[in-house]
């Protein structure tokens, strides 16, 4: 009988070994694969149990905070829709977006248990994640949103010397605190409230593009501010005609005057002198046809290649019409090259990350050049041209007593029968630029009447701080 008992024991040992091997398979070999199954909500649950870091504006306002319910943390956004397209949302149902998505790991802090000491530390209290400090000034952001009002469009304000984004407003917006009630609606809405028009809205630049055309022409020494041109009502190019806004004729004037009044027929001539090669190369130097390195998702601004451009398209491209499409952020960067001696700084919106003890943990130098668009001399000359626009050209609405403002209007044709897009790009003060502003109002009218006053308000708000 003892022999049989031994055999039975061995049978049981074999069965137990099979269990142990299977357990080893599940917890070592296949663990990663099984745990990462999409239906395993442990990861999400884990994140809900961590006190996510705060997101704070440059002026110390909390933009994303936590509400604790049943020892889970849920996000609340005190600034509501005002910062929705920057901060984004973090939601167990709808996922996460923008900075909440981009810096998810940082906001959550550490993840797995790393040591015995760490475990003891964490069963007593889970460490909160890291805070993000933004470059956004909530006061400027608010003023910019007020100035834009409920007109579709976007406003970008940045510091040309560093690339720090000071304000970034888009309209229409959504309230990240009310996703449950509005999710269906904001996804269906044809006005796309979820879209950040500042970084992802593509618009024809209109005459604001003349900043690029002028820079290219001056850089290539095609002309000087004092060069004399004839600005007729219309210009024949290969059987097609280029016209001015409201079919106005300007007659003989200098290049500087042509920039100030935004004369298309003269800029078309300059464009033809430059050639497609020269114009496109310069535009690409300003960052078109390149992905903008940024913490938020961006769309790439586009200009056709030189090979695709016939003289008609070249003439229209030189005045910002045709197939060129740009984002407001891109136009702000173009303007920042003029304001910053020809160099575009890499834009950024997160200036610091701090752990829960207040120690700074993100220390990479933030002010980094992204592109040299033009020479310092050219930048200074174009800056003078832009000052002229505000002092006695199309941008008078951006004048501020005691401050020299440099700017350029744009009035972009879009769909036939619809109102033009109103553009204004500016920087101030002209001799020591503190900020660059780019404004677009969809189907708003002319840049000088509609967009320039918005830019003025943003400049006033910023310089007043």
């Amino acid at each position: 009988m003892n022999k049989r008992i031994r055999r039975l024991t061995i049978t049981f040992i074999v069965a137990l070994t099979a269990l142990a091997l299977n357990l080893g398979y599940l917890q070592a070999l296949a663990a990663q694969r099984i745990a990462s199954h999409p239906r395993n909500t442990r990861g999400l649950e884990k994140e809900l149990s961590i006190e996510r870091g705060l997101i704070i504006s440059a002026d110390g306002q909390v933009l994303a905070e936590n509400e604790e319910r049943d020892s889970r943390y849920y996000r609340h956004y005190p600034a509501g829709d005002l910062t929705a397209h920057l901060v984004g949302f973090n939601n167990i149902k709808y996922g996460r977006s923008d900075l909440e998505a981009r810096f998810n790991d940082l906001l959550l802090g550490r993840k797995g248990v790393t040591s015995l000491e760490d475990y003891f530390h964490r069963i007593i209290e889970e460490e909160p994640g890291n805070d993000l400090i933004l470059t956004i000034d909530l006061e400027i952001q608010r003023k910019a949103a007020q100035a834009l009002g409920n007109r579709r469009g976007a406003v970008v304000a940045l510091d040309p010397k560093t690339g720090a984004i000071l304000a970034m407003v888009t309209y229409p917006r959504y309230d990240p605190n009310r996703l449950d009630e509005t999710w269906e609606k904001i996804n269906r809405d044809t006005s796309s409230p979820l879209l950040n028009r500042a970084t992802q809205g593509l618009y024809p630049p209109g005459s604001s593009f003349k900043v690029i055309t002028a820079s290219a022409a001056l850089e290539e020494k095609i002309c000087a501010p004092s060069s004399i041109y004839d600005g007729p009502k219309e210009l024949q190019v290969h059987g097609s005609k280029v016209t001015n806004y409201r079919d106005q004729g300007y007659g003989i004037m200098t290049f500087k005057e042509a920039f100030e009044v935004s004369c298309n027929t003269i800029f078309a001539q300059v464009g033809l002198q430059l050639g497609a090669e020269g114009l496109v190369k310069s535009a690409q130097g300003f960052g078109l046809n390149r992905a903008v390195p940024f913490e938020l998702p961006t769309k790439e601004s586009q200009i056709p290649t030189a090979g695709e451009m016939d003289p008609v398209m070249l003439a229209w491209s030189a005045v910002g019409q045709g197939k060129t499409l740009v984002t407001p952020l891109q136009m702000a960067l173009v303007t920042s090259a003029v304001a910053n001696d020809g160099v575009i700084m890499k834009p950024f919106v997160v200036k610091e990350a701090r752990d829960y003890k207040g120690q700074s943990i993100k220390s990479t130098p933030l002010a980094r050049p992204w592109a040299r668009a033009i020479s310092r001399e050219t930048a200074e000359t174009v800056a003078d041209l832009m000052v002229g626009v505000v002092e006695h050209g199309t941008g008078k609405a951006a004048q501020i007593p005691g401050v020299r403002v440099a700017g350029k209007t744009g009035t972009a044709e879009s769909i036939k029968g619809k109102k033009t897009h109103a553009w204004f790009v500016a920087f101030a003060p002209a001799d020591d630029p503190q900020l660059v502003v780019a404004v677009v109002v969809e189907h708003g009218g002319t840049g000088g009447k509609v967009a320039a006053p918005i830019a003025r308000e943003v400049i006033e708000a910023t310089l007043g701080r």
Partner: protein, 424 residues
């Protein structure tokens, strides 16, 4: 032999320390609330019955094996610790059952020290065992698809838990008498000795009973368990592999028939074959168990830092998965090792015991203990189809705790008598 008892108390103290640390960690991980009882007190409360048992053992069973009690204490405190982590409100009730269980084991040591007496009551055991096994089919209440429970007011009871011990006693006594007879081979089939057809009576009877459990109570786990215990004991008693082979075939045939006839059996098997097919509904429980186990990895998430409460019935059938999540492969293997060691001592006891009834009883009880662990851990880890039975001494549940303590008491009694008999 006092040396054995001193080793036992040493090991029990070790278990107490482990339990104290475990309970304290669980308490630390939880946000303090006045309703949850304090950890240190709980750990002490859970271990206390074992110390009391130990003290009485010194008088009643001084030479019993010193590993049974500490191993049982280890498994019980791990189980209660996980229960404290998962459903703290159930801990006081569980510790009450542990105390009752210890009293049961004590009762065995007091009144059944001479367990051979049981042989005289074998038919009473058989009758009451089968009645208990089948009673839920007649008066029972269906919980989670299986009819296992008898309910009297607030108290619900799983009679099968005690029934299986009575049946083991009966089988040990019956097979002691009839084992030699059953092992007589009178004919050969393909040169393999085959017992006479009339000796297949007991096998067929047990087969019918286990099928009755499966069909009437929809309980695949208990059915498998009873038949498994019977086959193990039959094999040890007769030495005829043919019984085991034919038994397995019979069980498979029965189970296959049930698979074809009964929806619930079919569903169980289909879920086992592919739980990922319907993760949200039918496969939910086993998939959550697999997620928990996988999430644990080698060393676990740490006590209190996992999410085992996603698994339905985690504190009864899936307590092992919860432990594997928070203590990892290391913890899971630790638990398997404890069961292995327990079984090893049980079978060693069977080897050492002189009288045949004691041998068969030890084999039956040890097999019962280990088979339960194999069936439920195998089910929770998807090695075999999932069947809802409790993990001995670890799962929450009064009947299960009570019956396993009685099992422990019987093993201690056999062990005492064996050691005494050998005069060591």
């Amino acid at each position: 032999m006092i040396g054995r008892r001193n080793r036992e108390i040493g090991l029990l103290l070790l278990v107490l320390i482990v339990a104290l640390i475990g309970f304290l960690l669980v308490q630390l991980s939880r946000t303090p609330s006045p309703s949850t009882p304090p950890a240190a007190g709980l750990a002490a409360l859970v271990i206390l019955p074992f110390f009391v048992l130990h003290l009485l053992e010194r008088r009643l069973a001084p030479e019993a094996d010193p590993l049974f009690l500490p191993l049982a204490a280890f498994l019980t405190s791990l189980g209660t610790m996980m229960l404290y982590r998962l459903k703290p409100e159930l801990v006081s009730r569980q510790s009450l059952w542990i105390t009752l269980g210890a009293l049961g084991a004590l009762g065995i040591l007091l009144f059944l020290k001479d367990y051979a007496k049981l042989e005289n009551y074998k038919y009473l055991c058989a009758l009451s065992g089968i009645t208990l096994l089948l009673s839920p089919a007649l008066f029972g209440e269906e919980i989670r698809g299986a009819k296992l429970w008898l309910r009297a007011g607030q108290l619900s009871f799983q009679p099968a838990e005690v029934g299986k011990i009575l049946l083991v006693i009966f089988l040990a006594a019956y097979l002691k008498d009839k084992g030699r007879l059953l092992s007589l081979a009178e004919r050969r089939l393909l040169r393999i000795p085959v017992p006479d057809l009339k000796h297949f009576g007991p096998l067929l009877t047990m087969w019918v009973i286990s099928l009755a459990i499966l069909i009437l109570e929809k309980d695949l786990g208990s059915s498998l368990l009873f038949f498994g215990i019977f086959l193990a004991m039959l094999y040890v008693a007769t030495g005829r592999e043919m019984y085991s082979i034919i038994g397995c075939c019979l069980f498979l045939a029965g189970a296959t028939a049930c698979y074809l006839i009964f929806g619930h059996v079919q569903m169980r098997i289909d879920i086992w074959l592919n739980p990922w097919h319907d993760v949200a509904k039918s496969g939910y429980q086993i998939v959550q168990s697999l997620f928990a186990i996988a999430n644990g990895g080698l060393f676990g998430t740490g006590l209190g830092l996992g999410y085992p409460n996603y698994i339905p019935a985690v504190h009864t059938d899936f307590i092992f998965s919860a432990l594997a999540e928070e203590l990892g492969l290391a913890g899971g293997l630790g638990v398997l090792a404890a069961y292995l060691l327990f079984a090893h001592r049980g079978f060693r006891l069977a080897l050492e015991t002189e009288d045949e009834f004691g041998k068969l009883l030890a084999v039956g009880l040890t097999s019962t203990f280990l088979l339960q662990a194999l069936v439920i851990i195998g089910g929770a880890t998807k090695l075999i189809p999932l069947t809802g039975i409790t993990l001995p001494l670890m799962s929450y549940g009064g009947s299960s705790i009570l019956s396993n303590f009685i099992l422990l008491g019987l093993l201690l009694a056999i062990s005492q008598k064996t050691a005494q008999g050998r005069g060591t």
